[in-house]
């Protein structure tokens, strides 16, 4: 089962300007084939479907614990899209065409379907699909797939970083480049333990250090790239049998921390958008609702 904490993994900057087309590009990192919904669901189903969990517990613990982190990444990318989406429409009665600028934006679903928030789809508006999940049941094949998936995800993040300089998008990508690097290394180490093959000699792919990216550098300096969390109060501790030794990128020791990251960011709140009828609760209705909430019914 899952326990939820009402915090983001990091604080996201929330400037008063947005870029709807940048938000559309960021959608690829959420609902694209290599997006966070794919990493989440791949590890989630692989952990559900894992055979001989007891015998192969460190590998089960790895896939199961990273599942929880990926849930937080889905949350982080979604909130980024919501913050980057502002600034295309204005508040006015419908006959003044307040959404007129939306016809020139790439993702019209954002304006028609989701009231300028995240969509469970990719940068071209395609739905995220269940067939992005690979769960073969063969441990080494699944680990190899996960290694590949994380490398693809990192590549896509690097490219979206190059597409937009919006501060919210870059902060999120800077952090996720570092965490993605952790997951690549974690699966490489798992494959090494399972097969004796050292995949870290291939890394990084593409051959570009996270430190090249301004917004990733501070997370590298903080050592965010050396830590793997259990994301659980009591379980999944055997990841320490895989996450051990040193980080080949910086020579620093790898650390397992039990639980979840101590700090984290506020969940952003979103202004109402009367032109989208969202949330569609005007002052009069809100007062009636407040009265009913307080009443003994």
């Amino acid at each position: 089962m899952f326990k939820r904490v009402n915090k983001l993994l990091i604080d996201l900057p929330a400037p008063e300007y947005g870029d709807a087309n940048a938000a559309a590009a960021v959608q690829e990192l959420l609902g694209g084939k290599f997006g966070e919904m794919s990493t989440l669901n791949n590890y989630m189903y692989q952990s559900f479907n894992f055979r001989q969990k007891h015998k192969l517990k460190p590998f089960y613990d790895l896939v199961a614990s990273i599942t929880a982190e990926e849930f937080g990444h889905v949350e982080l990318v979604s909130n980024t899209i919501n913050l980057v989406s502002k600034g295309t429409t204005f508040t006015a009665p419908p006959d003044l065409t307040p959404l007129s600028n939306a016809t020139d934006k790439r993702n019209t679903y954002s304006f028609i379907a989701t009231a300028q928030t995240s969509l469970a789809g990719d940068s071209m508006g395609n739905s995220w699909r269940g067939d992005y999940v690979f769960s073969s049941g063969n441990l080494i094949l699944d680990l190899l797939h996960n290694f590949f998936l994380e490398i693809g995800a990192r590549t896509h993040k690097m490219r979206v970083y190059e597409m937009t300089d919006h501060p919210t998008a870059r902060e999120m990508i800077g952090y996720l480049l570092v965490r993605g690097g952790v997951h690549i290394l974690a699966y490489a180490k798992a494959i090494e333990i399972a097969t004796g093959t050292d995949l870290t000699k291939m890394l990084p792919i593409p051959n570009l250090d996270n430190r090249v990216f301004d917004h990733a550098r501070k997370y590298e300096d903080q050592g965010v790239g050396n830590v793997l969390f259990t994301w659980s109060d009591n379980d999944y501790k055997d990841i320490k049998q895989i996450w051990k030794g040193t980080n080949p990128a910086n020579g620093q020791p790898l650390i397992v921390k039990e639980g979840i990251p101590e700090d984290g960011g506020e969940i952003p709140d979103l202004n109402d958008l009367p032109e989208e009828f969202a949330p569609g609760i005007d002052r009069d209705l809100y007062e009636q609702i407040a009265k009913r909430l307080k009443a003994n019914m």
């Binding site: 400037p15 008063e16 600034g87 295309t88 429409t89 204005f90 508040t91 006015a92 003044l96 600028n101």
Partner: protein, 71 residues
């Protein structure tokens, strides 16, 4: 070699400037060539206006304005 004198020319729309001055201190919507901007008009100069959104100023070049509406 001839030395050339550089002159800077700033075009401005005098009647837009005049009209916008009557809206200072009020909430307005400005459609720019890129995006609409909605907030409080705090000042106007011959070549730009300043709109505050949640107390954050945005300086908008008059030449990039398509229309302005009090809102």
């Amino acid at each position: 070699m001839n030395s050339q004198e550089t002159t800077f020319v700033s075009n401005y729309d005098p009647f837009v400037y005049q009209a916008v001055n009557s809206l200072i201190g009020s909430m307005i919507t400005v459609q720019t060539t890129k995006n609409p901007v909605q907030g409080m008009l705090t000042s106007a100069a011959p070549d730009h206006i300043v709109i505050e959104i949640n107390k954050v100023p945005f300086f908008i070049r008059t030449q990039q304005i398509v229309w302005i509406s009090p809102s």
